[in-house]
Symmetry: C2
DNA sequence: AGTGAAATTGCAGTCAC
DNA sequence: GTGACTGCAATTTCACT
Protein backbone atom coordinates (compact mmCIF):
# COMPACT_ATOMS: atom_id res chain seq x y z
CA UNK A 1 0.00 0.00 0.00
CA UNK A 2 1.10 3.57 -0.55
CA UNK A 3 0.92 6.51 1.80
CA UNK A 4 0.28 10.18 1.26
CA UNK A 5 3.92 10.93 0.47
CA UNK A 6 3.85 8.32 -2.29
CA UNK A 7 0.68 9.87 -3.64
CA UNK A 8 2.30 13.28 -3.69
CA UNK A 9 5.23 11.84 -5.60
CA UNK A 10 2.89 10.24 -8.14
CA UNK A 11 1.04 13.52 -8.60
CA UNK A 12 4.25 15.42 -9.17
CA UNK A 13 5.75 12.90 -11.58
CA UNK A 14 2.65 12.51 -13.69
CA UNK A 15 2.62 16.25 -14.21
CA UNK A 16 6.35 16.51 -14.88
CA UNK A 17 8.62 13.52 -15.13
CA UNK A 18 11.69 15.73 -15.43
CA UNK A 19 11.52 16.88 -11.83
CA UNK A 20 14.74 15.92 -10.11
CA UNK A 21 14.77 13.95 -6.91
CA UNK A 22 16.09 17.03 -5.15
CA UNK A 23 13.26 19.21 -6.39
CA UNK A 24 10.69 16.67 -5.26
CA UNK A 25 12.42 16.45 -1.90
CA UNK A 26 12.26 20.20 -1.48
CA UNK A 27 8.56 20.30 -2.29
CA UNK A 28 7.81 17.52 0.17
CA UNK A 29 10.33 18.58 2.83
CA UNK A 30 12.31 15.38 2.61
CA UNK A 31 15.89 14.59 1.68
CA UNK A 32 16.88 12.93 -1.56
CA UNK A 33 17.38 9.33 -0.44
CA UNK A 34 13.84 8.54 0.76
CA UNK A 35 12.40 10.15 -2.38
CA UNK A 36 14.72 8.08 -4.51
CA UNK A 37 13.77 4.86 -2.78
CA UNK A 38 10.08 5.59 -2.87
CA UNK A 39 10.20 6.27 -6.60
CA UNK A 40 12.06 3.01 -7.22
CA UNK A 41 9.50 1.18 -5.16
CA UNK A 42 6.63 2.79 -7.06
CA UNK A 43 8.28 1.71 -10.31
CA UNK A 44 8.97 -1.84 -9.17
CA UNK A 45 5.50 -2.35 -7.77
CA UNK A 46 3.86 -1.12 -10.96
CA UNK A 47 2.30 2.15 -9.82
CA UNK A 48 4.48 3.96 -12.31
CA UNK A 49 4.29 2.03 -15.56
CA UNK A 50 6.48 4.17 -17.80
CA UNK A 51 7.86 7.59 -18.60
CA UNK A 52 6.90 9.16 -21.88
CA UNK A 53 7.49 12.33 -23.83
CA UNK A 54 4.28 13.88 -25.09
CA UNK A 55 4.32 15.00 -28.69
CA UNK A 56 2.24 17.79 -30.16
CA UNK A 57 -0.14 16.04 -32.52
CA UNK A 58 -0.66 18.92 -34.91
CA UNK A 59 3.03 19.78 -35.05
CA UNK A 60 3.76 16.35 -36.48
CA UNK A 61 1.08 16.81 -39.09
CA UNK A 62 -1.72 14.75 -37.58
CA UNK A 63 -4.41 17.38 -37.88
CA UNK A 64 -7.30 14.95 -37.61
CA UNK A 65 -8.42 13.04 -34.52
CA UNK A 66 -11.52 10.91 -34.63
CA UNK A 67 -13.36 8.66 -32.21
CA UNK A 68 -15.11 5.74 -33.86
CA UNK A 69 -17.82 3.72 -32.23
CA UNK A 70 -17.85 0.25 -33.68
CA UNK A 71 -20.34 -2.56 -33.30
CA UNK A 72 -19.73 -6.12 -34.44
CA UNK A 73 -21.94 -8.73 -36.01
CA UNK A 74 -20.54 -11.76 -34.28
CA UNK A 75 -19.68 -11.75 -30.59
CA UNK A 76 -18.20 -15.19 -30.14
CA UNK A 77 -14.84 -15.20 -28.40
CA UNK A 78 -12.97 -16.12 -31.57
CA UNK A 79 -14.49 -13.25 -33.52
CA UNK A 80 -13.75 -10.83 -30.71
CA UNK A 81 -10.14 -11.95 -30.59
CA UNK A 82 -9.73 -11.62 -34.33
CA UNK A 83 -11.17 -8.13 -34.40
CA UNK A 84 -8.89 -6.98 -31.61
CA UNK A 85 -5.87 -8.47 -33.29
CA UNK A 86 -6.72 -6.83 -36.60
CA UNK A 87 -7.53 -3.40 -35.22
CA UNK A 88 -4.26 -3.15 -33.33
CA UNK A 89 -2.23 -3.53 -36.48
CA UNK A 90 -3.33 -0.19 -37.86
CA UNK A 91 -1.00 2.50 -36.66
CA UNK A 92 -3.69 5.14 -37.15
CA UNK A 93 -5.46 3.53 -34.19
CA UNK A 94 -3.84 4.98 -31.11
CA UNK A 95 -6.27 3.54 -28.56
CA UNK A 96 -8.96 0.88 -28.48
CA UNK A 97 -11.45 0.20 -25.71
CA UNK A 98 -13.91 -2.65 -25.38
CA UNK A 99 -17.00 -0.94 -24.05
CA UNK A 100 -20.43 -1.80 -22.83
CA UNK A 101 -23.52 -0.05 -24.10
CA UNK A 102 -24.92 0.36 -27.56
CA UNK A 103 -21.57 -0.17 -29.27
CA UNK A 104 -18.84 -2.76 -28.73
CA UNK A 105 -15.65 -0.78 -29.24
CA UNK A 106 -14.45 2.76 -29.10
CA UNK A 107 -11.30 3.50 -31.06
CA UNK A 108 -9.25 6.67 -31.23
CA UNK A 109 -7.81 7.39 -34.64
CA UNK A 110 -5.40 10.03 -35.90
CA UNK A 111 -4.69 10.99 -39.49
CA UNK A 112 -2.87 13.60 -41.51
CA UNK A 113 -5.95 14.81 -43.34
CA UNK A 114 -9.36 13.76 -44.50
CA UNK A 115 -7.98 11.81 -47.45
CA UNK A 116 -5.87 9.69 -45.17
CA UNK A 117 -8.79 9.17 -42.82
CA UNK A 118 -11.09 8.20 -45.67
CA UNK A 119 -8.49 5.73 -46.79
CA UNK A 120 -8.28 4.28 -43.30
CA UNK A 121 -12.04 3.80 -43.08
CA UNK A 122 -12.71 2.56 -46.58
CA UNK A 123 -9.60 0.43 -47.08
CA UNK A 124 -8.30 -0.67 -43.72
CA UNK A 125 -11.32 -0.69 -41.44
CA UNK A 126 -13.58 -2.03 -44.18
CA UNK A 127 -11.21 -4.95 -44.70
CA UNK A 128 -12.22 -6.33 -41.33
CA UNK A 129 -15.37 -8.28 -41.79
CA UNK A 130 -17.60 -8.76 -38.78
CA UNK A 131 -18.00 -4.98 -38.43
CA UNK A 132 -21.66 -4.15 -38.45
CA UNK A 133 -21.63 -0.42 -37.92
CA UNK A 134 -19.14 2.43 -37.55
CA UNK A 135 -19.98 5.88 -36.26
CA UNK A 136 -17.28 8.54 -36.48
CA UNK A 137 -17.06 11.55 -34.20
CA UNK A 138 -14.52 14.11 -35.33
CA UNK A 139 -12.68 16.00 -32.64
CA UNK A 140 -13.13 19.70 -33.30
CA UNK A 141 -11.34 20.86 -30.18
CA UNK A 142 -9.61 19.33 -27.19
CA UNK A 143 -11.25 21.13 -24.30
CA UNK A 144 -9.36 19.27 -21.61
CA UNK A 145 -6.34 17.43 -22.82
CA UNK A 146 -5.48 14.35 -20.76
CA UNK A 147 -3.60 15.63 -17.72
CA UNK A 148 -3.36 12.42 -15.77
CA UNK A 149 -5.30 10.65 -13.12
CA UNK A 150 -6.85 12.30 -10.09
CA UNK A 151 -4.91 11.07 -7.08
CA UNK A 152 -6.21 11.77 -3.61
CA UNK B 1 10.77 21.63 -40.13
CA UNK B 2 12.12 18.38 -38.78
CA UNK B 3 14.06 15.66 -40.54
CA UNK B 4 14.10 11.91 -40.20
CA UNK B 5 16.58 11.96 -37.33
CA UNK B 6 14.28 14.25 -35.36
CA UNK B 7 11.40 11.92 -36.07
CA UNK B 8 13.41 8.97 -34.80
CA UNK B 9 14.19 10.89 -31.63
CA UNK B 10 10.50 11.70 -31.13
CA UNK B 11 9.56 8.07 -31.63
CA UNK B 12 12.13 6.92 -29.10
CA UNK B 13 11.26 9.52 -26.46
CA UNK B 14 7.52 9.01 -26.68
CA UNK B 15 8.06 5.34 -26.00
CA UNK B 16 10.56 5.88 -23.20
CA UNK B 17 11.47 9.31 -21.87
CA UNK B 18 14.15 7.83 -19.62
CA UNK B 19 16.45 6.95 -22.50
CA UNK B 20 19.73 8.75 -22.02
CA UNK B 21 21.20 10.92 -24.72
CA UNK B 22 23.97 8.39 -25.10
CA UNK B 23 21.56 5.53 -25.64
CA UNK B 24 19.69 7.50 -28.27
CA UNK B 25 22.97 8.40 -29.91
CA UNK B 26 23.97 4.75 -30.07
CA UNK B 27 20.67 3.74 -31.63
CA UNK B 28 20.92 6.46 -34.26
CA UNK B 29 24.68 6.24 -34.78
CA UNK B 30 25.32 9.79 -33.66
CA UNK B 31 27.31 11.33 -30.84
CA UNK B 32 25.80 12.94 -27.77
CA UNK B 33 25.98 16.61 -28.67
CA UNK B 34 23.82 16.59 -31.81
CA UNK B 35 21.22 14.46 -30.04
CA UNK B 36 21.24 16.87 -27.14
CA UNK B 37 20.86 19.91 -29.40
CA UNK B 38 18.07 18.32 -31.39
CA UNK B 39 16.11 17.39 -28.29
CA UNK B 40 16.40 20.92 -26.94
CA UNK B 41 15.24 22.27 -30.26
CA UNK B 42 12.29 19.88 -30.33
CA UNK B 43 11.37 21.06 -26.83
CA UNK B 44 11.75 24.75 -27.62
CA UNK B 45 9.80 24.54 -30.85
CA UNK B 46 6.94 22.70 -29.18
CA UNK B 47 7.18 19.27 -30.76
CA UNK B 48 7.76 17.83 -27.32
CA UNK B 49 5.21 19.39 -25.02
CA UNK B 50 6.05 17.67 -21.75
CA UNK B 51 7.41 14.60 -20.02
CA UNK B 52 5.08 12.59 -17.86
CA UNK B 53 5.09 9.51 -15.70
CA UNK B 54 2.24 7.16 -16.51
CA UNK B 55 0.37 5.81 -13.54
CA UNK B 56 -1.47 2.49 -13.38
CA UNK B 57 -5.11 3.45 -13.07
CA UNK B 58 -6.27 0.35 -11.24
CA UNK B 59 -3.31 0.37 -8.85
CA UNK B 60 -4.40 3.75 -7.54
CA UNK B 61 -7.93 2.49 -7.02
CA UNK B 62 -9.64 3.94 -10.07
CA UNK B 63 -11.28 0.74 -11.25
CA UNK B 64 -13.89 2.45 -13.38
CA UNK B 65 -13.32 4.27 -16.65
CA UNK B 66 -16.27 5.63 -18.59
CA UNK B 67 -16.75 7.56 -21.80
CA UNK B 68 -19.75 9.87 -21.76
CA UNK B 69 -21.33 11.31 -24.85
CA UNK B 70 -23.01 14.57 -23.99
CA UNK B 71 -25.35 16.74 -26.00
CA UNK B 72 -26.37 20.24 -25.01
CA UNK B 73 -29.61 22.14 -25.29
CA UNK B 74 -28.20 25.56 -26.08
CA UNK B 75 -25.34 26.01 -28.50
CA UNK B 76 -24.73 29.74 -28.26
CA UNK B 77 -21.11 30.68 -27.63
CA UNK B 78 -21.78 31.75 -24.06
CA UNK B 79 -23.45 28.44 -23.19
CA UNK B 80 -20.64 26.50 -24.79
CA UNK B 81 -18.05 28.43 -22.81
CA UNK B 82 -19.91 27.91 -19.56
CA UNK B 83 -20.26 24.19 -20.08
CA UNK B 84 -16.56 23.82 -20.85
CA UNK B 85 -15.59 25.83 -17.82
CA UNK B 86 -17.86 23.78 -15.56
CA UNK B 87 -16.86 20.38 -16.85
CA UNK B 88 -13.17 21.03 -16.39
CA UNK B 89 -13.58 21.63 -12.71
CA UNK B 90 -14.50 18.02 -12.00
CA UNK B 91 -11.35 16.04 -11.36
CA UNK B 92 -13.12 12.84 -12.36
CA UNK B 93 -13.07 14.21 -15.91
CA UNK B 94 -9.62 13.43 -17.27
CA UNK B 95 -10.30 14.46 -20.86
CA UNK B 96 -12.93 16.41 -22.75
CA UNK B 97 -13.35 16.73 -26.50
CA UNK B 98 -15.68 18.94 -28.46
CA UNK B 99 -16.87 16.68 -31.23
CA UNK B 100 -18.97 16.84 -34.34
CA UNK B 101 -21.69 14.31 -35.06
CA UNK B 102 -24.74 13.30 -33.10
CA UNK B 103 -23.31 14.47 -29.77
CA UNK B 104 -21.50 17.65 -28.77
CA UNK B 105 -18.90 16.43 -26.29
CA UNK B 106 -17.09 13.28 -25.39
CA UNK B 107 -15.67 13.14 -21.90
CA UNK B 108 -13.48 10.52 -20.28
CA UNK B 109 -14.24 9.89 -16.64
CA UNK B 110 -12.54 7.79 -13.98
CA UNK B 111 -13.94 6.74 -10.64
CA UNK B 112 -13.12 4.48 -7.74
CA UNK B 113 -16.31 2.44 -8.04
CA UNK B 114 -19.88 2.59 -9.24
CA UNK B 115 -21.02 4.57 -6.22
CA UNK B 116 -18.53 7.29 -6.93
CA UNK B 117 -19.47 7.30 -10.59
CA UNK B 118 -23.18 7.50 -9.78
CA UNK B 119 -22.41 10.40 -7.51
CA UNK B 120 -20.51 12.11 -10.28
CA UNK B 121 -23.35 11.73 -12.75
CA UNK B 122 -26.26 12.52 -10.46
CA UNK B 123 -24.67 15.25 -8.37
CA UNK B 124 -21.91 16.88 -10.35
CA UNK B 125 -22.87 16.39 -13.98
CA UNK B 126 -26.55 16.97 -13.25
CA UNK B 127 -25.71 20.28 -11.63
CA UNK B 128 -24.81 21.65 -15.04
CA UNK B 129 -27.94 22.79 -16.71
CA UNK B 130 -27.94 22.96 -20.49
CA UNK B 131 -27.19 19.24 -20.69
CA UNK B 132 -29.81 17.56 -22.82
CA UNK B 133 -28.60 14.01 -22.93
CA UNK B 134 -25.82 11.84 -21.51
CA UNK B 135 -24.90 8.42 -22.76
CA UNK B 136 -22.35 6.44 -20.75
CA UNK B 137 -20.12 3.75 -22.21
CA UNK B 138 -18.25 1.77 -19.59
CA UNK B 139 -14.79 0.57 -20.48
CA UNK B 140 -14.66 -3.16 -19.95
CA UNK B 141 -11.15 -3.64 -21.25
CA UNK B 142 -8.39 -1.51 -22.72
CA UNK B 143 -7.50 -3.41 -25.88
CA UNK B 144 -4.88 -0.97 -27.03
CA UNK B 145 -3.71 1.41 -24.39
CA UNK B 146 -2.50 4.75 -25.74
CA UNK B 147 1.04 4.19 -26.98
CA UNK B 148 1.64 7.53 -28.60
CA UNK B 149 1.34 9.01 -32.04
CA UNK B 150 2.34 7.28 -35.25
CA UNK B 151 5.36 9.17 -36.58
CA UNK B 152 6.57 8.46 -40.08
C1' DA C 1 25.31 24.94 -39.49
C1' DG C 2 26.02 20.84 -37.83
C1' DT C 3 29.28 17.38 -36.00
C1' DG C 4 32.51 15.02 -32.70
C1' DA C 5 35.83 15.39 -28.68
C1' DA C 6 37.09 17.17 -24.27
C1' DA C 7 36.04 19.44 -19.80
C1' DT C 8 32.85 20.71 -16.14
C1' DT C 9 28.66 20.63 -13.42
C1' DG C 10 25.12 18.36 -11.11
C1' DC C 11 22.19 14.52 -10.42
C1' DA C 12 21.38 9.44 -9.72
C1' DG C 13 22.34 5.84 -6.99
C1' DT C 14 24.98 3.73 -2.86
C1' DC C 15 26.59 3.54 1.75
C1' DA C 16 27.39 4.51 6.74
C1' DC C 17 24.92 6.22 10.41
C1' DG D 1 14.77 8.91 7.89
C1' DT D 2 19.86 12.20 7.16
C1' DG D 3 24.30 13.27 5.24
C1' DA D 4 28.60 12.21 2.64
C1' DC D 5 30.60 9.88 -1.35
C1' DT D 6 31.18 7.98 -6.16
C1' DG D 7 30.25 7.39 -11.00
C1' DC D 8 28.08 8.80 -14.83
C1' DA D 9 25.01 11.53 -17.52
C1' DA D 10 23.73 16.12 -18.78
C1' DT D 11 25.34 20.29 -20.24
C1' DT D 12 28.91 23.68 -21.93
C1' DT D 13 32.95 24.84 -24.61
C1' DC D 14 35.73 24.27 -28.49
C1' DA D 15 37.99 22.64 -32.76
C1' DC D 16 36.75 20.75 -37.16
C1' DT D 17 34.27 19.83 -41.59
Amino acid sequence: MIDSVDKSILKLLQSDAKLTIKEIGNKLNLSATPIFERIKRLERSGYITSYKALIDRKKVGLSLMVFCDISLNQHHASHIAKFEKDIQQFNEVIACYHIGGSFDYLIKVVAKDMDEYQNFVSKKLASIDNIRKVQSSFVMREVKTPIGLPIN
